[in-house]
């Protein structure tokens, strides 16, 4: 079973529904110790990076142990940002740190609006397990104001005022800044790819 971490950052109904369409049921662990049996872990999240403070300590330690055992992780939106070391949005809060770097606010350049809300296209600089079957320039649904930097771990980039990491992948740690559960067929394909990773 795949664990969906509910740390109080937003509504999880759509994420559950998206995974159901991708052929997987999710369970919501009540305590970090319940991650022992998880085949995969999903860290969702919307809103302010400060909300991830609820993951500091035991949750982060248990998630790190699971990753060390080879359990795949998928961070969605704020969950992708949390995979990095931190964010300017809440400098006192520490992320997972699986990827070096810090998230920062998108620049409000050329009359572009921030938050970045809507459908924007993915650029895929390299092959990716998570994005298998998702074509170059596919559009997916974003809603965020802060974004992660482009590092070698980026599996997809997107541009809105600046180029940022739209998807990351390092071994079995995956993250997407967009919402696959709201990104129509391509989004469900991505969830299916993650589900496949948890079963391999």
């Amino acid at each position: 079973m795949i664990a969906l971490i509910d740390y109080g950052a937003g509504n999880l109904t759509s994420v559950r529904k998206g995974f159901a369409a991708a052929g997987a049921e999710l369970f919501t662990p009540g305590a970090p110790s319940e991650l022992g049996d998880a085949d995969g872990i999903v860290v969702p999240g919307v809103g302010n990076f400060a909300a991830t403070a609820a993951l500091e300590g035991d949750w982060t330690a248990s998630i790190r142990q699971a990753i060390d055992r080879g359990v795949p992780l998928l961070g969605i939106c704020l969950g992708l940002q949390w995979i990095f070391e931190g964010s300017d949005e809440a400098p006192d809060v520490t992320g997972l740190g699986a990827i070096a770097g810090k998230c920062s606010r998108l620049p409000q350049a050329n009359g572009l609006k921030v938050p970045h809300v809507g459908w924007n296209s993915l650029h895929k600089p390299r092959a990716s397990r998570l994005l298998q079957g998702v074509d170059e320039s596919t559009q997916v649904y974003f809603t965020h104001s802060y974004a992660a930097p482009v590092t070698p771990e980026a599996a997809a980039t997107c541009e809105h005022g600046a180029v940022f990491a739209a998807a990351v992948e390092v071994n079995h740690v995956f993250g997407v800044q967009f919402h696959p559960e709201k990104s129509s067929g391509a989004g469900i394909q991505i969830l299916r790819n993650f589900v496949a990773a948890t079963r391999s």
Binding site: A9, G10, N11, T13, S14, K17, G18, A21, V46, G47, N48, Q108, L112, K113, V114, P115, H116, V117, G118, W119, N120, S121, Q139, Y141, T143, H144, E159, H160, E181, K182, S183, S184, G185, G187, I188
Partner: protein, 251 residues
């Protein structure tokens, strides 16, 4: 490049889709879940379900309708109409809404926007503003356009953003249901004043009306009902038209 969004609105009364003309005289147009499925298939970017009579008759948006519609969609779904409290918002979100549209209740209690944003994030909070031209300004009306308020649409949009709203759904009461074009002046005035996205609504009749509201009106998204309800392939034909005009859309 960020695409301009096309949003289909389902005005729902007693479980069926209706379309109002100047907010009155409602006509039947079909089953909400069936329409949502068709739009999803045609490539609509988002769906809004409004319980058009909820506030007036004191009813909550029908959760069964929301559940049925959200079951057909893997694109964002906004629910509005009768969202008066955090409990109403919670019921809509639990039934499958990604965002809630708040109108009259936010006018009566602007702090509701802040409370909803704290609980669900700003991206889930849409302030719905119904505005009408009165003496050279855009006056805000509440309760499905029936009650004038002392507020100006531009000022209210700015305040709503500062209180936590993540998007503005801006309806021109003058244009709603007339198919005579969006109010581009109203839309541009609000869109230029806020940094959150503005969804233009009211008046869509031709494909060129969409071109105008994205260019002159500086809208981030455009919402329509009857333009999509009564014509097959309207969504894909409209997107092709907008692309030819150089307007970025998802296809």
């Amino acid at each position: 490049m960020l695409s301009k969004r096309l949003i289909a609105c389902l005005d729902v009364r007693n479980g069926s889709v209706v379309k109002g003309i100047n907010f009155e005289e409602l006509r039947m147009a079909g089953d909400p879940a069936a329409l949502a499925k068709r739009y999803n298939h045609e490539g609509i970017d988002e769906v809004v379900v409004l319980d058009v009579t909820a506030t007036i008759e004191g009813r909550r948006a029908f959760e069964d309708t929301i559940r049925a519609v959200s079951g057909e969609l893997f694109i964002p779904l906004t629910v509005g109409g009768g969202i008066r409290s955090e409990a109403d918002a919670a019921a809509a979100i639990d039934a499958g809404a990604d965002k809630v549209g708040v109108n009259s209740a936010a006018l009566a209690d602007p702090a509701l926007l802040t409370r909803l944003a704290a609980r669900y994030g700003s991206q889930a909070v849409v302030v719905a503003i119904d505005a009408k031209r009165v003496n050279d300004r855009f006056q805000v009306f509440s309760r499905s356009g029936s009650t004038p308020t002392a507020r100006d649409a531009v000022e209210w949009a700015i305040e709503a953003e500062s209180r936590g709203a993540g998007e503005v759904l801006l309806t021109s009461i003058d244009r709603d249901g007339t198919r005579s074009g969006f109010d581009c002046e109203l839309t541009a005035a609000v869109s230029s004043a806020v940094s959150i996205p503005v969804i233009a609504s009211g008046g869509a009749g031709t494909f060129d009306h969409f071109t105008s509201v994205f260019q002159e009106g500086r809208a981030d998204a455009a919402l329509a009902a009857s333009v999509f309800h009564y014509a097959e392939h309207a969504v894909s034909d409209l997107k092709r038209h907008l692309l030819q005009q150089g307007i970025p859309v998802r296809c």
